[in-house]
């Protein structure tokens, strides 16, 4: 059993007290003396030539300090893209410029056309309404296939058409895969849409720029998942501010789910305007602005084909996906449909031949980038839907078909370029069958049918690649960043310590879970350990939090730094006890000498390091502070098996989730309570995608879902209590904690489970329905039943 507060304990979160009492410090809670406010005038049309932006009337409005248009940003860099994808012919992707404020043309609804800085937010808004835009509207392209047709309107005049890249993976397998399909005993084909979503963290984005004319220092307070990355991108590529003169602070951040990874125009604007106006400049997004300026997620249209032999073994998989990039390339957008998606197409199965083709397309819509799971939900959804369809076509049990094709030997090198280090998919499926009582399903179905309801069971598996790494590999794949993490452990003279981490917490509970690891390593109370994150001035260079990398990569950096601390502390302890360093053992917060009763407490060693009166000054520097950078050697591969039971009302098409069970293998678990909470949240987002959520444009590029009136967010009464389990553990073999990552699992594993369950329910009612595209709204389900 873990000791209280160490690894494996469900320690209550220390951060909760400030959030529960209103004492949090979110970015919008920050107000700087003398600050001005910006209101962005955003385009309400999708595509237009800007003839003129007339600010004459607006600039004399009350409180107006200055109005900025695209012309003010001549000479300022555009927003950079952090990942270059090479297409299947060896050519680099097409990469358009991405201005902070639109110049010459507008390319999506919500694009910034002008910015008013005024004394109050209301005055800025009033003045923005007085700006007269002379626009020549152009036809918009929204549908991806139409955007690729000959003669389609171009989103960017200076590019060759709207194709960003045509990626093939693994290109060398293409012919072998095609040949395998000609020899297959059975081929199942499925066309599906993974609809566009909006991340919708409950805290809208905020940026506050500040500039100190005396020192030349810039500070940006922003709602970000990775402040160092914002500092690098904005400083080096947009504004030309050296990093040592630019501080980026992301204090309490109210959720991100990917949408706060990226560098946005508003951040660059507020930093730029603070210097230009010599005033702190603050922007707080409204929710409607968030819908048209936060990067969106998903938006794939796919055809997937699965080939099987006469014994129902998977022999080949072939996919063709159209991936919407929107009007510009958001920070990591090109990597999502390619390296975060294609490499996961093997799933939990030993399919020997796989070919993935992805066509990334520019359209007159908001840019699309990573959203919870990023590419992996899209891969899992296709694969687990086509397997389910294949099982039905072949008349075999969908679970048995999966089991038959599971990868069972590890490590396993997939045909899509990754190597799973550990896993036990049979064990997770066994656990799922037991925990979800799948044997009892027929009885539950009969009970539902007695009430006039159709009951369906959907089961699926997933695997994901977490803790994106290593740097030299991702560099070869086109990443323009390293993907290590760092930590500095600073021990105080009185024995308490502060960990400064490059990982960022925006709900994941780092302030609680990270100390548990160090408490376990040193054998001290977790309350003696403080976590500092989210401020480039106080923390070592880091890559932030996304892709479930915090504990696997950031936690590993922290372990490495703590190992250095312990190593040095042992030298000091050896000196204090006049013993050999090799004989020093650290246990329960004290250094002992093996085979003796000599011991010196942790706190005494720390004091000696800072008050070095009895200290080996000739051999060791005073002080106890160490930094480590950790670059992982591989991704981690969490995997799981999920089961969903639904009841469908055949009269209305309304779907109710009546049971949801998630069995995950996350490797070792630091705080089971927090891990379960992460799964719960992911499930709600995945079920939200399956049943409710959809970001919709009309054919003119008008955004029809731009508020919570039009975008159906899952609410408490849309969801059940979930059963979650993470007792199936195969520790990761290549990080010091044996951890894998849990943040995205629920969102990856749940959409196919729900859709499989609804299809099963309808088929049980005699309906020949093989697929319905998400979200499975009552109208869509009802319409499908009428065929």
């Amino acid at each position: 059993m873990p000791k209280d507060g160490g690894i494996g304990a469900s320690t209550k979160r220390r951060e909760d007290v400030r959030f529960l009492t209103g004492a949090g410090n979110y970015t919008d809670d920050i107000n700087i003396r003398g600050q001005a406010h910006v209101h962005f005038l955003r385009s309400d049309v999708a595509h237009a030539t800007i003839n003129a932006v007339d600010t004459a009337a607006a600039k004399d409005m009350p409180g107006v300090i200055r109005i900025f248009t695209g012309a003010d940003f001549e000479g300022v860099g555009g927003l950079p893209c952090g990942w270059q994808v090479t297409d299947r012919h060896g050519q680099p992707m097409q990469e358009p410029g991405h201005p902070v404020i639109a110049r010459g043309k507008i390319r999506h609804v919500g694009e910034i056309v002008a910015a008013v800085v005024a004394e109050t937010p209301e005055q800025a808004r009033d003045a923005a309404e007085a700006i007269a835009l002379d626009l020549a509207e152009l036809p918009a392209v929204v549908d991806m296939k139409a955007a690729l047709a000959d003669g389609a309107t171009k989103v960017h005049d200076d590019l060759t058409g709207n194709l960003c890249y045509d990626w093939g993976f693994v290109e060398e397998n293409r012919e072998a895969v095609n040949e395998a399909f000609t020899k297959a005993a059975h081929v199942t084909t499925l066309e599906l849409v993974n609809q566009r979503l909006v991340a919708n963290p409950m805290e809208p984005r905020v940026a506050v720029g500040d500039y100190n004319r005396g020192t030349g220092d810039h500070t940006l307070y922003t709602t970000s998942q990775n402040p160092h990355v914002i500092r690098l991108l904005m400083g080096a590529f947009v504004l030309g501010i050296p990093e040592h003169k630019l501080r980026v602070v992301a204090p309490d951040v109210g959720g991100g789910f990917g949408s706060k990874i990226f560098h946005y125009a508003e951040e660059a604007f507020c930093t730029f305007a603070a210097k230009a106006c010599n005033r702190p400049v603050k922007w707080t997004s409204s929710r409607s602005e968030a819908f048209m300026s936060d990067a969106h997620g998903r938006d794939h249209v796919t055809k997937i084909e699965l080939a099987l032999d006469a014994q129902n073994n998977f022999t080949a998989l072939r996919t063709e996906t159209y991936a919407n990039m929107g009007a510009y390339l958001s920070t990591f957008a090109p990597s999502v449909p390619t390296w975060l998606h294609g490499t996961l197409m093997a799933g939990n199965y030993k399919t020997p031949l796989i070919y993935v083709n992805v066509k990334a397309v520019f359209t007159n819509t908001v840019p699309v980038d990573a959203y919870r799971g990023a590419g992996r939900p899209e891969a899992t959804y296709q694969l687990e839907r086509v397997i389910d369809k294949a099982a039905r076509e072949l008349g075999v049990d969908p679970i048995a078909l999966r089991r038959q094709n599971f990868v069972t030997e590890f490590p396993y090198a997939t045909p899509v370029a990754v190597q799973y280090d550990t896993g036990d998919y049979v064990a997770t499926m066994d656990k799922l069958e037991q925990l979800a009582d799948l044997a009892g399903f027929p009885a539950r179905r009969r009970e539902s049918e007695s009430k006039g309801l159709l009951r369906g069971l959907g089961v699926n598996c997933y695997i994901e690649a977490c803790g994106i790494a290593p740097s030299n590999l991702v560099g070869q794949l086109g990443a323009r960043a390293g993907l290590y993490e760092s930590a500095t452990v600073r021990v105080n003279a009185t024995g308490g310590l502060v960990v400064m981490t490059g990982s960022h917490s925006h709900g994941q509970g780092h302030e609680t879970a990270f100390p548990q690891v160090i408490a376990e390593m040193i054998g001290i109370d977790a309350d003696m350990i403080e976590i500092v994150h989210g401020d480039t001035a106080n923390t070592p260079m880091g890559m932030g939090t996304y892709g479930s990398r915090s504990i696997a990569v950031g936690g590993s950096a922290m372990v490495r730094a703590t190992e250095k601390i312990i190593s040095k502390a042992k030298k000091i302890a050896a000196h204090l006890m006049e013993a050999s360093e090799a004989d020093i053992e650290l246990k329960d917060g004290a250094f002992g000498v093996a085979g003796t009763d000599k011991s010196v407490a942790w706190g005494d060693v720390c004091l000696a390091a800072y008050v070095p009166h009895n200290y080996p000054l000739d051999d060791i520097e005073p002080g106890l502070e160490e930094t480590a950078f950790y670059d992982p050697s591989n991704f981690t591969y969490p995997a799981g098996a999920y089961a969903c039971e639904v009841e469908v009302d055949p009269e209305t098409g309304k779907v109710r989730i009546v049971d949801f069970t998630a069995v995950d293998d996350f490797g070792n678990v630091i705080n089971p309570m927090i891990v379960s909470g992460q799964v719960h949240g992911g499930l709600a987002q995945g079920i939200g995608q399956a049943l409710l959520e959809s970001c919709v444009y009309d054919e003119n590029g008008q955004l029809l879902s731009a508020s919570y009136m039009d975008y159906a967010m899952p609410r408490a009464d849309d969801l059940p209590f979930y059963k979650v389990d993470h007792s199936c553990v195969t520790p990761c073999t290549h990080n010091p904690l044996g951890v894998k990552g849990c943040g995205e699992a629920g969102a990856i594993g749940s959409p196919p489970a729900v859709v499989n369950a609804v299809v099963d329910a309808l088929q049980s009612g005699g309906k020949a329905v093989t697929h319905i595209d998400m979200p499975l709204s009552p109208s869509r389900v009802w319409a499908a039943m009428q065929v």
Binding site: S10, K12, R13, E15, D16, R18, F19, L20, T21, G22, A23, G24, Y26, D28, D29, N31, E122, N200, P201, M202, E203, P204, D252, V253, G254, G255, F257, T284, S286, R287, S288, H506, G507, Q508, G509, P672, M673, I674, S676, G677, Q678, V679, H680, G681, A684, S707, Y708, M709, M713, P714, R715, A716, D717, L719, F721, Y722, K723, V724, D725, G746
Partner: protein, 161 residues
């Protein structure tokens, strides 16, 4: 500008507001009570729920001048007199009913209003009462569990942790 005065968490507070100033902005920007959050502009999300004369109100749907002379309770006034978490707040911490914490003040204020109206709600009643509060982190599982626990009901049978 109009003068307003109201009792906020037991103390009389006053200020000058424009007619269009919402209660939430008065609380946050003038009184510095930043625990009440703004999560949307259509009154859907509930991050701004406070109590006005004991009733739950979305502070982004009410003008500050409408609260003139009334009693307002916000998240900052919910803890016990000694600063410890009250029963509902403690239940949220015990059952991990929050992650990023942004929706949390509104959730706690809604939960308090529910339990005042219905001291032992069923799971269904809790879920239906939270219709006006959106959480994007927790999947609601632990929020519902925390509210049931705060009402004194045994939640031991509801999933681990």
């Amino acid at each position: 500008m109009t003068k307003v005065a109201m009792t906020v968490n037991g103390t009389t507070r006053s200020g000058e507001v424009e007619g269009r100033t919402l209660l939430v902005h008065f609380l946050r920007d003038q009184l510095g009570l930043t625990g009440t959050h703004v999560g949307c502009d259509t009154s859907q999300c509930g991050a701004c729920v406070v109590h006005v004369d004991g009733m739950p109100v979305k502070a982004c749907t009410m003008f500050a001048i409408e609260a003139d002379g009334r009693e307002v309770a916000t998240i900052e006034g919910q803890a016990n007199a000694d600063g410890s978490l009250n029963t509902i707040q403690q239940a949220f911490q015990d059952h991990h009913g929050l992650q990023c914490g942004f929706c949390t003040p509104g959730m706690v204020m809604s939960a308090a209003a529910l339990l005042k109206e219905n001291p032992r709600p069923s799971e269904t009643e809790v879920r239906e009462y939270l219709e006006g509060n959106i959480c994007r982190c927790t999947g609601y599982h632990n929020i519902v569990k925390a509210i049931l626990a705060a009402s004194g009901q045994d939640v031991g049978a509801i999933a681990a942790e």
